[in-house]
């Protein structure tokens, strides 16, 4: 601890960086600017273990912090300047908030006496971000900075995680610090520890329903992963001989290669997972928020089943689906209490029945007649043994990656679920590679999404990160085109990405290795070549069939039983229940 005399020599920015360092922050991703000058200076003057990564755009910084957090469970810091710098973080903050990702965003701000006067690069980022953060601060007193940083860290990482923004006016960061670096946090309205104190009556009622069920399905979500409930989930699933389906963000919390796994459910989930949900008599939801992409038409979801909902966040209860039993609390704690109360069962009939669906509706694709994204993803899964960290953008490639890249472990599937943010995959992969330097990290991107954040090629090259950037290039915004084909009489509007660059040349211009794949016969060999290259990033441009569609598909807002497993032979009504 610094002596009182030494502390008086600090300024606010130094106190902030010292506090963040003492909290174990390892990486700061960011972009400099006028209002953040004192904080950037403190990165140089304060001795700490913090490593700063200069990105090429503030959005990239947020997605890198996001990828880092999803790969490790630990938050990183995003540091940007005021006004446009802060504004450019919005998409990334929203993405983190929607998917419960811990993150601390520090924004520079105009001096306090200029606030509200339209001063240069002034933006009310506190007001702007209120709806997309777990909490935020506008710090007006220099001596408050360490307490605010501690509170931000505590809020971001406990309970249901989320992003916390700290707006720091320049006079606050550069004024002398005379306070206490070791100050206590003061959050009377925040009690995450309540999540571990679960109502035993709800546990007993859940156990009673589980013991009565003949055809149960476990629905495992991101909450199960965040609570570290993998072992408990395996134990209860095998004890109950109960099939497990997972949400997009829950991929890996239960091994997808396990015989009880049904893979992902929902709009583009497996047919057998969706059929299991339609036919079961108990949906046992562990840490999923019943997103509209998995429930379809809410009043038909689980209409013939009892529903148990375990969620740490009480405000998720009854939001989309009214459960028969609501268990409010940490998933791992709840499962530990449930396991001794549930009866061991064997369900050969139910599981055989579902295995019949697995045989009847396998995830399949053709290897003839052009190069398909599914083929590439299936090969990459095979070559990596399903052990790579996969990040994705949003769209067709994302859904195919979810289907064909099987995850047997948590924190290896990094995808923007709730927000559906294009341009997320590549910077998130950079963040994940910083977090896990020895892992294979593959950014699965579409040609649309990659172009939104491709400037981060410079960041990956400078740090020699061996990220594999798989650009699945169909020269289309494929998912939107698929909807236009199915629901808008195939009228294409705003989806043709004519003018795509030569991605290999583009990569080479940044000093990044580039590989083209154009024929199905080359896929395995060239992917292996990319996987073997570890001196820096490698971009693999794959020229894919332009007009392939993702199936199975449940049109938005339709019931799960209305799932399409192949292209429809009739004209589809436009979806109205959701986007």
């Amino acid at each position: 601890m610094a002596s009182k005399k030494k502390q008086q020599e600090l300024d606010g920015a130094q106190a902030l960086i010292m506090t963040l360092s003492s909290l174990g922050i390892e990486y700061v991703f960011g972009y400099s600017g006028g209002a953040a000058l004192p904080i950037f200076d403190a990165l140089e003057t304060v001795k700490s273990n913090i490593k700063f990564v200069l990105t090429r755009h503030e959005q990239g910084a947020t997605h890198m912090a996001d990828g880092y957090a999803r790969a490790t469970g630990k938050p990183a810091v995003v540091l940007v300047t005021s006004g446009p710098g802060a504004g450019n973080t919005i998409t990334g903050i929203m993405t983190a908030q929607m998917d419960s990702v811990p993150m601390i965003i520090v924004t520079g701000q105009q001096v306090t006496w200029m606030l509200g006067k339209d001063a240069f690069q002034e933006a009310d980022i506190f007001g702007i971000t209120i709806p997309i953060v777990k909490h935020n601060y506008l710090v007006r007193e220099t001596n408050e900075l360490p307490r605010v940083a501690r509170e931000a860290f505590h809020i971001a990482t406990t309970g249901r995680p989320g992003p916390v923004l700290i707006d720091v006016p320049k006079n606050v960061s550069q004024s002398p610090f005379t306070g206490d670096l070791e100050c206590e946090i003061d959050l009377p309205g925040y009690k995450p520890e309540k999540g571990f104190d679960i109502d035993s009556a709800s546990i007993e009622e859940a156990a009673r329903l589980i013991n009565l069920a003949k055809k149960p399905v476990i629905l495992a979500g991101h909450g199960a992963m965040l609570s570290g409930a993998e072992r408990e989930l395996m134990e209860i699933a095998t004890k109950l001989d109960c099939p497990v389906t997972s949400t997009l963000l829950g991929k890996g919390v239960f091994p997808e290669t396990h015989s009880l796994s049904l893979g992902m459910l929902g709009m583009h989930g497996t047919a057998y997972a969706n059929k299991a949900i339609c036919e079961c008599d108990l949906i046992f939801n562990i840490g999923s928020r019943f997103d509209d992409r998995i429930i379809g038409q809410a009043d038909k979801f689980g209409a013939n089943a009892k529903i148990i909902h375990i969620d740490l966040d009480i405000s998720e209860m009854g939001k989309m689906i009214v459960a028969d039993v609501e268990v409010v609390g940490d998933a791992k704690t709840a499962l530990r209490q449930l396991i001794p109360l549930v009866e061991k069962r064997k369900r050969p009939e139910w599981n055989e029945h579902l295995n019949g669906y697995k045989k009847k509706y396998p995830l399949a694709y053709k290897k003839q007649g052009g190069l398909r994204m599914q083929h590439v993803l299936d090969e990459i899964n095979d070559l990596t043994g399903g052990n790579a960290i996969i990040t994705t953008d949003v769209g067709q490639h994302q859904m195919w990656a979810a289907q064909f890249c099987t995850n047997d472990e948590s924190f290896k599937w990094i995808s923007s679920g709730g927000a559906g943010t294009m341009g997320f995959g590549f910077p998130a992969a950079i963040g994940a590679q910083f977090a896990c330097p020895d892992e294979t990290v593959i950014a699965v991107c579409g040609d649309g999404g990659f172009q939104m954040t491709l400037c981060e090629l410079a960041t990956a090259v400078i740090h020699k990160l061996p990220v594999k950037i798989l650009v699945l290039n169909n020269h289309y915004l494929g998912m939107v085109r698929q909807w236009q084909e199915l629901f808008f009489d195939n009228r294409e509007s705003g989806v043709d990405l004519i003018g795509n660059p030569d991605f290999v040349k583009l990569a080479e211009a940044y000093g990044c290795k580039g590989i083209n794949i154009k024929r199905p016969a080359d896929v395995r060999k060239k992917l292996q070549e990319a996987l073997d290259y570890n001196e820096g990033p490698v971009l693999i441009n794959v020229e894919c069939i332009k007009t392939e569609n993702v199936f199975p598909m449940i049109p938005a807002g339709a019931a799960l039983e209305d799932m399409l497993t192949e292209p429809p032979k009739y004209k589809m009504a436009k979806p109205v229940g959701s986007t």
């Binding site: 709806p131 809020i155 309205g189 009480i314 009854g318």
Partner: protein, 181 residues
């Protein structure tokens, strides 16, 4: 109780799902921006805030909020939970007239140029336990306090006279007995 909602439809239909008269109390951190966080939650779900009273608590680190809300009661439960989830909200409860005392105060300015009218007005005010707080040559200001329906009733009667303007504080609430507000 159901009420009529005016829509662009020429024949307004009763909307039984829209209900008046929910009274929420919140105990929150006394800091700038807290009200913004709360109001955004109501606005996003299309709930109207009919009345809002904010004042410093006995402990100045905290503030008391009383909100009068109209909207679908089913969704309101979720909104209460979402408000409660805010870091700056210590707690949030819904109160009914049975479990809480609800009061408001109205100031009513009425033209009263002739003595006869003035006498009639003062009789009504007296009936409702009101007070005259300003006595001018051409108008008087009266103060009525009590439960919202009592304030409503007094204004309804005074509507027979020439009301210039009314200002209502909005409801304040306190839970009865052992219960916390």
């Amino acid at each position: 109780m159901a009420r009529l909602i005016t829509t662009t439809d020429k024949k307004p239909k009763p909307r039984p799902d829209i209900v008046d008269g929910h009274t929420l109390s919140m105990y929150v951190n006394n800091k700038p921006g807290v009200l913004m966080r709360i109001c955004q939650i109501f606005a996003r779900r299309a709930y109207n805030i009919d009345s809002l009273v904010v004042s410093q608590g006995r402990d100045p680190r905290f503030s008391r909020l009383t909100l009068g809300i109209s909207g679908d009661p089913a969704g309101l439960t979720q909104i209460i939970l979402q408000c409660d989830k805010l870091i700056d909200v210590i707690h949030c409860f819904e109160h009914t007239p049975e479990d809480a005392v609800v009061r408001e105060l109205a100031l009513i300015k009425i033209k009263a140029e002739n003595a006869e009218r003035r006498t009639e007005i003062l009789q009504i005010v007296e009936h409702f336990g009101g007070k005259t707080v300003d006595f001018g040559e051409a108008s008087i200001i009266i103060r009525i306090e009590g439960a919202s329906d009592k304030v409503d009733a007094s204004i309804r009667l005074l509507n027979n006279y020439d009301i210039v303007e009314t200002v209502r504080t909005g409801k304040v609430v306190m839970a009865r007995g052992e219960q916390v507000t």
